[in-house]
Structures are given as C-alpha cells and as structure tokens.
C-alpha cells in the first residue's frame, strides 16, 4: 500500500537526540520512546492494511480526527511490533465509541485507564499474556499495545496529565493495561462470545477502569465459598456510590474450583449480583450517599451492579496461587461509560 505520510518532520543528529527531542516536546509517558522514522511507521501501516490518511476515530468533545498515520507513529514510539497495530487500532476505535464516552473517563478526577481485554486467536498468535503475572511486566505485547493507546490519547487527543487528564491519583495501568483471556484453559464461554461475537473472531473489549484489586481464598473448595470472599470485598468497594461495570478476573485455582462445582459464567454473574448489595442505610452511614438514614433504608437493598451482565467475567492469571482480582469500572453507571467490544480487523487485501 503506497501512501504519503503527511506529518511534520524533525531532523536530529542521532538516536540519543531523537529520544531527547521526544522528551523535550512532551511526547512521552515518562519512559523513553522509540524514534518514529518513516520506514518504521510505514511498516506499522502495512501490517494493518491501512492508508495513512484513513480516519479511525473522531473524538467529539475535542473535535479531533484520529488518523491511521498518527496511531502508527505512536505505536512505533510505544515499542509495538507491526503485527500489534490492528489491536491498537481496535482499541482506539473502542475508546472513541459514544458508549465509551471518551471525555468523562479520560478527563475525570476518578483517574481511570483503558483496560483492554483481548479475545480470540490473535491473542495466542501475538503471545498476549493471559497467565502468570497477568498485570505485571515481561510481555512486549501487553506492555506496548496499551502504551500505544495511552500515547495516542496524549499526543493526538491531547489528554495530558494535569491539563485534560485530571486524575487525582491515576494508577499504574495508565501506562499500559492489556490482558488476554486464557481461552485455552478456561472451562467457560469466552468474554467476546458472551458479548455476541464468534469464537474465531478476535476482539478487544475496553473498559474505563480503576486499578485491579487482588483477593485471596485458599480455604474453600466450592464456588459459593470462593466467591463469597470477593463479594465481601466488592460490596465494600462501592467507590463513588454509582453502579459502573466491574471485571472479575478468575485465575487458575479459583477457576478450577468454580468450574469443578459446575458453575458457568452466568452462574457467577448471578451470584455476585445477588451478594454484593448494600442497604441504603449502610451506604448513607458510610457517607457515600447523602441524606439522613430513614427507617426503610435498613431493609432497602441497592445492588452494586445495575444489572447482572455488568459483571464481565474473565478467566486469566497464573495457575498457582489462590488469588484472583476484580476491577472496578469508572463512573456513575451506564450513562457515564460502558465497556465496548470491537473486532480486530485484518484489512490487508
């Protein structure tokens, strides 16, 4: 595919100066970046079968069009291999979807980051980690795909920390927050199939998310026993008193215990929905809802989740260790921001 790259050029003496220039111009997330040369950017575009001037997204509140060329430049800077580019593109498409509602989660003091969950064959092909040290360092795909998305947010959309990214605390996932579901070992329907896609399709599901919370249960050998622990944690989370979506990441031991009990993802969702409800009185006493406690508040329950399928269940994490994790979404509920699933397209002819 022949295209003309339209971006402004900067000429420097050597590699070190190129990296310094990127710092001086404010183009990095604080870590060094790979200098984006024309040849590297073109390889990125070719791997995705995209023309440089193809518009991938439009961010309404910023009135910014995101082109393939700018995504490719930032993907090179993030350290992506060219074959990662279609995944980065799908994630950029997801965060520009009206349901994801870019302005809120990108700007809010709530400090969310885009959690990217990859499903389908591409996750295995690109070796996107779904096992040990799931949220930790060590895998190029996980580390650079999310970083590319964040650099696009920064350099193209203008989501700069302290200016249009006003996260009070933020979290480390804002550098990169990419996992895959362990479909090879999971006993359950993959997340993307639950959300209406075919098993052979590859997708990203992107949720505006807080940091992961780890929980532990080494005592129980039943689904109810294991999930009782996380429900206790989640019920007390109730961050802003809203009802955002949550991700429940079940790692090897918990996954096997729950599956051995014969439970499906739907059973898990139903149990968690029913066992994470708080009384209105409790929410008011904990200063998460305004107003005096009324007699009926003691017996009126408010679900943590607006509906059962607002819990996204993902099988991932190491085989050993009685740990799993839950991840709160951002915002007050579905009208604030929702998880969006996009197909990772192969646009090469």
């Amino acid at each position: 595919m022949t295209t003309t790259l339209a971006s402004k050029r900067h000429v420097v003496a050597d590699l070190g100066q190129a990296m310094d220039l990127c710092y001086e111009r404010g183009w990095t997330d604080g870590l060094p970046v790979v200098p984006p040369t024309e040849a590297a950017v073109q390889r990125m575009l070719d791997a995705a079968g995209l023309a440089a001037d193809a518009q991938l997204a439009f961010i309404t509140n910023r009135q910014v069009a995101v082109t393939a060329e700018k995504v490719a430049i930032n993907a090179v800077m993030a350290g992506c291999l060219p074959e990662y580019m279609p995944v980065v593109v799908a994630a950029v498409e997801a965060i520009s979807d009206p349901l994801w509602a870019y302005h809120g989660p990108a700007t809010s003091t709530g400090g969310a980051g885009p959690l990217v969950i990859v499903n389908g064959p591409i996750a295995r092909r690109l070796e996107i980690n779904c096992e040990d040290n799931l949220f930790g360092p060590g895998w190029r795909a996980n580390a650079t795909i999310g970083r590319a998305v964040r650099l696009v947010m920064r350099n193209v959309i203008g989501t700069l920390p302290g200016l249009l990214d006003r996260g009070t605390l933020g979290h480390p996932g804002k550098y990169s927050y990419v996992i895959a579901e362990n479909e090879a070992e999971s006993p359950w329907m993959p997340l993307h199939v639950q959300r209406g896609f075919k098993p052979e399709q590859s997708t990203v599901t992107v949720l505006a998310a807080e940091a992961p919370r780890q929980w532990y249960n080494q005592l129980s050998s039943t689904p109810e026993g294991v999930l009782r622990t996380v429900c206790d944690d989640m019920r007390h989370h109730n961050s802003t008193g809203g009802q955002p979506q949550y991700v429940l990441v079940l790692a090897g031991e918990h996954m096997r215990t729950i599956a051995n009990g014969g439970w499906s993802k739907a059973d898990i969702q139903k149990y968690v929905f029913e066992n994470t409800q708080n009384s209105i009185a409790h929410i008011k006493r904990m200063e998460r809802m305004a107003g005096a406690v009324m007699p009926q508040d003691e017996t009126t329950l408010r679900p943590l989740l607006a509906q059962v399928d607002d819990l996204l269940v993902v099988a991932a994490g190491g085989r050993a260790g009685a740990f799993s994790s839950y991840i709160p979404g951002w915002g007050g509920g579905r009208r604030s921001s929702q998880a969006v699933t996009k197909v990772i397209q192969d646009r090469r002819a």
Binding site: L5, S7, H10, A13, D14, Q17, T37, A101, P105, S108
Partner: protein
Amino acid sequence: MAPIEILDPTVEPRQQPLTYVPRPDSLKGKRVGLVENTKFNSDRLLHRIGEVLINEYGAADCKMWRKHNASVPAHAEIIEEAKRSVDVIVAGIGD
C-alpha cells in the same frame, strides 16, 4: 552517523474560527439559565447563585436544567430550550 528524521506524533492544530458570544454589559432584566451537573449540592449552589443574580444584579428570573450526568455535555434538549428561553447561562462543575 547519518542524521535521523522522525515524524511528529501530535496533531497539528486545525485553523478553525472560535468566537465567544459577547458578554452582556449588565444582567439587568436578563433571563438566566442554570445548568446543574448532578453532583451533590450543585443544585443548591446554583440556586443560591441564581438568587444573587436576581437580587443583587437585577436579573429577571432563573431557570435550571439538569444534565444526564456530570461527565457528559448538556444534552440537545437543554441546548435547544436554553436558546429559546434564556439570555445567559451559568454552568460549571463542582466536586
């Protein structure tokens, strides 16, 4: 070593006209719209501001709208009704 040419990762700003409506010299007799962002106490704060604008600055009256939630722009119905029924708007975000 040969020089290196790198591509700019940012978006060059597009030229686009952006102008503000001139601020009124006075609020006397003006109809004031208040856009409430749903955060706790934001309605009380705006009501108070409305009272001040009427009592101390001579505004004619106040009318309040409520957004769907704090993180989205005012929806189309608010914009359309405000265009028809008020002269100035007070909006903001309070945490």
